[in-house]
Homo-oligomer: 358 residues x 4
């Protein structure tokens, strides 16, 4: 069972390979009469687009999105929205060198074992290029969400280099080529990454995402918990290896006294939390606090340093992955994490409305 559809009520089905003629998606379940044009989507794609700084892959893709259906006279009609991006820079280079090699950290081996066939050009379906469609769909999800919800992500760790949590200010993620929310840290990261790349190496990273303005009550027991759906969705991003909600793995080391997010009456009859260890989700349902999640993205597996591997024929081989690769894929993962978070939230918004009304 292949499964390329994301979501329950807001459903995104993506298709396409790195080196096919195009990639695309179908976004189904969008409420009607939302103003929508390519101009609402393109800015998010541009953030994710490769080739914008020397810290991301030099593949040149315009990533121009086209809306093929579901929008009429500038508004969504409630019918499926098809989006497509043509692949324009599928370099017609010779892939015969990697055709039979199982590159460590890549899906070459596993696709072969599963399907007995794989499109080896640029990773085929397992290419991070697929995430462009999540970003496009995420732009639509943002328009579905009620006004006042703000989703922001940033790179808070690049390899061994972490941002001091006290310095995080998402207003700065646009100021530097790393989507880093700490401008001072960002300044130091450039040389680190240059050095890694020159070394034929790459860095992992950690992306933090926050959603402010989500009302209390979204989510559901037991198997559509907001945190469970977020975890599944974020872990489905290429190269993701860990997901945390609130204090995440750190809660394993806490005591109950420390972990309790105490509450006091607010001024306006509301509830004020004194901390947010829970990351805004209790029992699978949003509490009204900011939703906070973190995603670990492993280092780019395509590196110039030779690594031992085997061929599909079982021969030993040294793999050196040339080509245009991100030295830290976590950077371009930032807009993807934002988009996926928007998709999960919009889905849960519709789910909540279905069961509980407005």
């Amino acid at each position: 069972m292949s499964f390329n559809t994301f979501g329950r009520l807001l459903r995104v089905t993506t298709w396409g390979e790195s080196h096919g003629p195009a990639i695309g998606c179908v976004v189904d379940g969008v409420p009607p009469r939302i103003a929508l044009s390519e101009a609402d989507i393109q800015p998010y794609l541009d953030k994710r687009r490769p080739g914008q700084s020397r810290y991301t892959t030099q593949r040149q893709e315009a990533d121009q999105v086209k809306i093929l259906s579901g929008v009429f006279e500038g508004q969504t009609t409630g019918t499926p929205i098809a989006l497509m991006i043509e692949n324009t820079d599928q370099r017609s280079r010779d892939y015969s060198d990697i055709k039979d090699q199982y590159r460590p950290g890549h899906a070459d081996l596993t696709y072969d074992k599963k399907y007995g066939i794989r499109d080896y050009r640029g990773g085929g379906r397992s290419s991070a290029r697929e995430t462009a469609m999540r970003v496009a769909a995420g732009a639509i999800a943002r328009k579905i969400l009620p006004a006042g919800i703000r989703i922001q992500a940033g790179l808070v760790q690049m390899g061994p280099h972490m941002v001091d949590p006290a310095n995080v200010d998402f207003a700065h993620t646009g100021d530097n080529p790393f989507f880093c929310p700490d401008p001072k840290a960002a300044k130091a990261w450039g040389p680190y990454l240059d050095a890694a790349r020159k070394d034929g190496n790459s860095f992992g990273g950690i992306v933090t995402v926050e959603a402010h303005g989500v009302p209390a009550g979204w989510g559901a027991p037991i198997y559509a918990k907001l945190d469970a759906d977020l975890a599944g969705a974020l872990m489905s991003i290429n190269a993701a290896k860990g997901v945390e909600i609130g204090d995440g793995m750190g809660t394993g080391g806490l005591t109950g006294v420390d972990n309790a997010d105490e509450m006091v009456p607010g001024n306006a009859g509301d509830i004020q939390f004194l901390s947010n260890h829970a990351g805004g989700i209790l029992g699978g349902i949003s509490s009204g606090q900011p939703i906070v999640a973190r995603v670990a993205i492993k280092p780019t597996s395509s590196i110039l340093t030779p690594r031992r591997s085997v061929t599909s024929g079982g021969e030993a081989v040294e793999v050196v992955t040339k080509g245009r690769h991100d030295p830290c894929v976590a950077i371009r993962g930032v807009p993807v994490v934002e988009a996926v978070t928007a998709l999960v939230l919009a889905d849960h918004y519709l789910m909540h409305r279905a069961q509980c009304g407005e």
Copy 2:
């Protein structure tokens, strides 16, 4: 949209509240002609059962499972298997003290905000009691899986106390009341936990699970990745706040050179991996290596130390949660993590068979 069904082809629907007459589940999609009786399920429930040591809740539940359908003359028939456990120790105590209180860390507030009503007795639907049915269903999942697959979990961290990874030996998890895979560490944990409890406090913990013998090829791009499904399922466990596959959050700090799981030809025409940073999953598909995941379980929120909160009427209140609570819920989370892992794997086994045959 409430959603109490887990899985794609092997589907488990659970129901029941902590203090209702019973809890139960329906397991649909089980292949026919598998030998099955209550005796296959009960031992797993007994592992999770409360009241077995002084380190878990003293609630006394026999947790006797009954099979109500789907089994005929000792074999599964391919039709839905209904399981039920009667609640025998719903203490008829007065819940009026917590009826209107939002206990920090619990789902009281969020259920109320979502539904405008909640069964406050023992946490109602949000009680960890629901996980008994996952354990029961997990026992069936194990029987579906091909022979040779071994799923083992253990508690590797209890609050600030971690097990040295070098000492982990899952053969020892049955030797101590913590399901700890390091018997020496386990010995020290008793006094730590006693002290925390006397203090009116509790501990979080981290559970590691490993699945050996899973063949290469299970899983699927893009939104039914084995790791994404695992992450979503494990995060749906009560009190889970973080999920890691392989090196997990740590991969954010690695370089590509270090993270590469190199391969060499094995003796039998197979492939030998030299490391397992990936946790046995590449591109969402199993690689043939052991599948390794970790789950952080937050500390029990029900503690005797007073914490500030508010009532449903908006009044300030100090919450002290009396009653029979686990000082470290992560302990009883171990069989739950095992069961959930078995369910995800069995589901993917059937999914793989559907698309790719046997």
Copy 3:
């Protein structure tokens, strides 16, 4: 893939065999704060209950439903509602005579071919007894639907005997043991059915269902059309062999001029239709007219007249089905058709609210 769950947002999972200890279902996705008790469900079960007249099976089942979860202090909580009916009249007779026989018209052969095992006692899972849970769930669905929606079904054909459409008045379905909406026709049906039964024979029938008060706008293109979902759901009822919406099969014989449901402006700014060939559904979406569907139920396959068949071992055999059987299962199908219609409508009500708000 077994699949015992019905619905998209309002999901009913049924379980149980004719001669197991009990049958039951889990109703998930019910909105919170709906007043609900067994007394809301039991009357519908009583309508379907066997043994109420000499025209239905003499099996004596109290069919007392119990609510096991999801209701607190008389109101739904938004969590799954488990219902159970104990089987009290599983006559412990010897089934060895039919154990190896493939009764014509029954699922004996097909279950055996699919699963290689079957619970032959009373048809096991393929027994019409399963429909009791649809009736129970349908009672909940009725409470979910907005006030003013009225769902009524009646038996309009019993074997060769049809009701004159001009005489149909659903107010009369409760006056006779056939749920026949024409009291005059009903009077004649008793002797017909008695004669068939004495003959060792049985009758098929056709059930008409109408839903009044459904607002325009429920349903969806393309694969969740209201009529497509109705057709699938009604065809899933035991013994159903045909489903019609509006003029149904007859539309194949119409011309476009005759089939057009003309509209004129109503007095209150609304739209008045001059006919309802469409059965209240256009393009998969309700038009505001009454929704009209018809279901053909084949004659009871269990008859005393010997029929040729084979055994599981491939031997020729003459099958005579003794026991307590309905001479016309379509009669007791009437409350089932009503219930299934209510379930489909309630599901679409929630689906519409999810996408389009209220």
Copy 4:
């Protein structure tokens, strides 16, 4: 909730409007290593293509399908297959005349009531043009099905003119422009249809489909019955109003003695049925007999005879639908019914393999 995805394991998501730039679909879940190219799909589209005789719409669409993903070096890869057909003959005529009119029998009114917006050009999403993608996907489904399964449909009734069942021979459906399995009847149909068209009228029709070679055992209780899935899928075809399995609505008039499909031992240890009232499905599972279904397609609603209606503003209006319309849409429905049947069968083939192995 919009829902444009068909199927459980073999999932087809369609998109596109009649007068948008293109229509397309994504076919997910296809097994790997099936030889596939556009040449496998195009012949089926050509059968459905408009403008091929004077008995179908004169819209000229080449309906050239392109495969955009999921196929590599001539074989399916197991990843989603995106198909697209560009709309080349969207006549840029003025639609202002029908923009505000609710054409009787069309989805104009209901889309407007549901969404508050609609793409009125050529029916938008509700256009029968969508069925082109079902035909395309159906061609892939045929390649998934095991060899030896033969799916054939034909038009057996056109308005009041029925084919004598004794004359049905599917070998003749390609000999005439009506896909009529009785060449003699077909000869008479031309003048009938010409007369209807000249009259500003149209005809309904009934399509019969048969699937030979389906093994016993496909299907499932209770809500994924093969007949229930077929009924839902066939009823989702534009203009379908009735679906029958086997004797269909006629079973309501039968007696149990007549309806019994008696069995005798075959020569090769198999089972010989003496009749097929059941249409090859018992208890929701295939019996090994030919699967037989019938679908009623209502007459084309777009006719030149004026019909009364209202505008979106509530004014009375006479609607005359000019343009290029099929005088009997049931004709081009024949390849659609075949395709949908192939999709349902292929889905159930994979479902059976998932639960029961091969």
